[in-house]
Amino acid sequence: MSKLDSKVPSGKLQDKWEQYKFDMKLINPANKRKFNVIVVGTGLAGASAASTMAELGYNVQSFCIQDSPRRAHSIAAQGGINAAKNYPNDGDSVWRLFYDTIKGGDYRSREANVYRLAQVANNIIDQCVAQGVPFAREYGGYLANRSFGGAQVSRTFYARGQTGQQLLLGAYSSMMRMVAAGKIKLYTRREMTELVVINGQARGIVVRNILTGELETYHADAVILATGGYGNTYYLSTNAMASNSSGAWQAYKKGAMFANACFTQIHPTCIPVHGDNQSKLTLMSESLRNDGRVWVPKKQGDTRKPNDIPESERDYYLERIYPSFGNLVPRDVASRNAKTQVDAGRGVGSTGVAVYLDFADAIKRDGEDTIRGRYGNLFEMYQRITDESPYNTPMRIYPAVHYTMGGLWVDYNLMSTIPGLHVLGEANFSDHGANRLGASALMQGLADGYFVIPYTIGNYFASNMIDQSITTDHPAYKDALQNTKNRLTGLLNTKGSQSVESIHKKLGKLMWEHVGMSRNAASLEEGIKKIQSLREEFQQDVNVPGSDKGVNTELEKAIRVSDFLEIGELMARDALTRNESCGGHFRDEYQTEENEAKRDDENFTHVAAWEYTGDNKEPVRNVENLEFENVKLTTRSYK
């Protein structure tokens, strides 16, 4: 059973990281320049890791699919980043941030990792301010904070509604400084297709050059994946169009275990779906729930305009059910409740699949100018998409796939089950358990990149024998290259009748229906079968036009979708074997009388890490038991 060693250091929770930093072996400054590191992805985790390791003296090769590292999807995060600075003097502390994160994740994450995250969060704010990130300030010149779902303190730092953008541009500028210094070699418009493992260690990658179509191999002493999540398995999500799981999935197929694949976050406040040609969903920051009130008409099928429905005929259901947290309940709770209302026929808008988020009271209380100051850009974005002004009429919102808590399994060092392969940010499974709190993704990405991996990578190099005589001439590279070639040829030669896009849409519908906001055994079993047969359909009938030379956007999509078709099945399988409800994973069979998630701590206080055993073979489910020595497992209550 114990293939999984979390390598959590001993000692008191509060002292573990400090002590471990002292215990880890160091590489002296002159020797750091002898080590090469590959970093795949340039979002918050990848960019911060690349710049920081380069600053330390390592030689970094950095890869991204976009034309510039500044465009990674971290840029779209709106609301903010958490830290336990306690500037508002409202009782925050590292312990409280740790506790909220563990509880918000429904007790399915590792105590030691989460505590470290809460500890370094304060350093992140300092780091970003020093980089010139223009965080919001009060008139006195000090940093402003706001509150966010799942917490009763104000600990979220923000830069208008563009926090992710500003943090990413900070990390990107540090990275570009190291590019200029010659310590980072930047490879843009490259997509990873294969991980190269030599002597049991991750040593390199194969990438496809998106412009030329050429396959290229790169070699290093360690590989870091910061490739983001797999939310686009659902076709419609708030992820960017190119966000994909292929890097992580190919690593899984080389032996990196994939943990808690079923933990996906359905974000409660997104603009509802409008039609079949829709390509993606747009998130409206959760910060809106600070001032917006969520409601539906009390009457089923009420077609009146929202402003014509009198107060007495509205149900502010979050405030009614959860009086102490109200509209600020965690994301999973808010999403599920929206679904309950819609399923009961009280949904609004032309499709009936939406609920209202109303700012009328906030505007009455604080004035339109104040509300514009807080959310102006979000309101404009909403109006551009829907042609309706939230200043005059309530927003219509509905949950959408937003984030994946699951990912490649990593130990305390952020190393996967393949030695030398480290995984950061959303791509790993580590810190958010079964549900991520708002403003914590930015925190985790930057914690991993600025303050964790720069330490643990040195310990890896100092503690392991790494054969530095190996180059890309090693036969493993030829094999990996050939694998990718075969795959591409297979896709191009199928010459079927269905476009990649149309199959991806079908997969998305299957996933939403069978592995969506609520799941049950029968539907999951059916879903697995349907995904398998859709995969066959793809293999036999996909139409990928063009060739493997030059730009071929259809081929790019085909590679990604062929991986989504596999990961989708693993997500369903993971959901099927987790016989409990926790966080974002809600099984109809396991709920309380009040329809809240019912955990099974006796049997499921563990991480499920899946091990690849071959194509079309059932993967093996390994377990890492989660030990809670510092917090008591309670039923989450936001009432």
Binding site: I75, Y87, S174, A242, N277, M381, S499, E501, N543, E554
Partner: protein
């Protein structure tokens, strides 16, 4: 929400790769819903092209939320199309009507060569940032975030400048293909903040020099950049950059 669909006549720049000659090609596209975004309209065209065995139109796009800066396009001669303060991905088809002709071209500039069709190379912007668009500090050095109070007005001005998404609309709409709005936005953000003042002079010199080296033109105050900027970056940033550059030249 409207259910009636439109038929559009599209004239699109097709170019096989960066060495081939390109030309405008015409396509009729029925079934366009006013609720679609502009890029969803192009998705629909591409789906038709793929299903009829033709090469889809290559264009850059990613977040489709107006923030990553990856989407571009000259639409009827305007960078990001007719709607002010809006990126192409956030432009919706309700801005057009049935029977309209829509001309779609790449962002054109000497420093932005075409890769394929509507995809261009904007890596010159990365080079400008690498020349000095940063504060030289290594992770781990930072004092407490509240150690240096920054007045709200200054912080807001810095944020206004920092909002640039690096899409290149400013360059594409400028008759001189100048990158001064882009460069000045980053320069202003860092020059306004106390953290950035230590190396402000060097930064101004290096970024301006790099911008000129890369083949971007000069500013002749036509203000087309400001008019086309989807994030409302103001011309005053260019004035600030010129002051910073002048100051730094004196102190050299």
């Amino acid at each position: 929400m409207s259910t009636a669909t439109m038929t559009l006549k599209l004239k699109i720049w097709r170019q096989a790769d960066n060495t081939s000659k390109g030309s405008m090609k015409e396509y009729d596209l029925p079934g366009v819903s006013p609720d679609m975004s502009f890029l969803e309209m192009l998705d629909l065209l591409n789906e038709n092209l793929v299903n009829s065995g033709n090469d889809p139109v290559a264009f850059d796009h990613d977040c489709r939320e107006g923030i990553c800066g990856m989407c571009s396009l000259m639409i009827n001669g305007e960078a990001h199309g007719p709607q002010k303060l809006t990126t192409t991905c956030q432009l919706h088809m309700r801005s057009f009507k049935d029977g309209d002709t829509v001309v779609i071209e790449p962002f054109r500039a000497k420093a932005f060569p075409v890769h394929k069709d509507l995809m261009v190379d904007r890596s010159a912007f990365d080079e400008i940032i690498a020349a000095g668009g940063f504060i030289s500090m290594n992770a781990g050095n930072a004092p407490d975030g509240n150690a240096i109070p920054i007045g709200k007005e200054t912080a807001d001005l810095a944020m206004d400048a920092a909002a640039c998404i690096g899409c290149g609309a400013c360059v594409a709409s400028c008759e001189n293909a100048s990158a001064m709005l882009f460069t000045s936005a980053k320069l202003s953000q860092l020059a306004l903040l106390p953290q950035g003042k230590a190396e402000a002079a060097e930064r101004a010199q290096k970024m301006v020099k790099k911008m000129d080296e890369l083949g971007f033109g000069n500013c002749t105050n036509a203000a087309e950049c400001e008019a086309s900027c989807p994030k409302g970056i103001e011309l005053s940033n260019i004035a600030r950059m010129n002051r910073e550059f002048f100051k730094s030249s004196l102190s050299k």
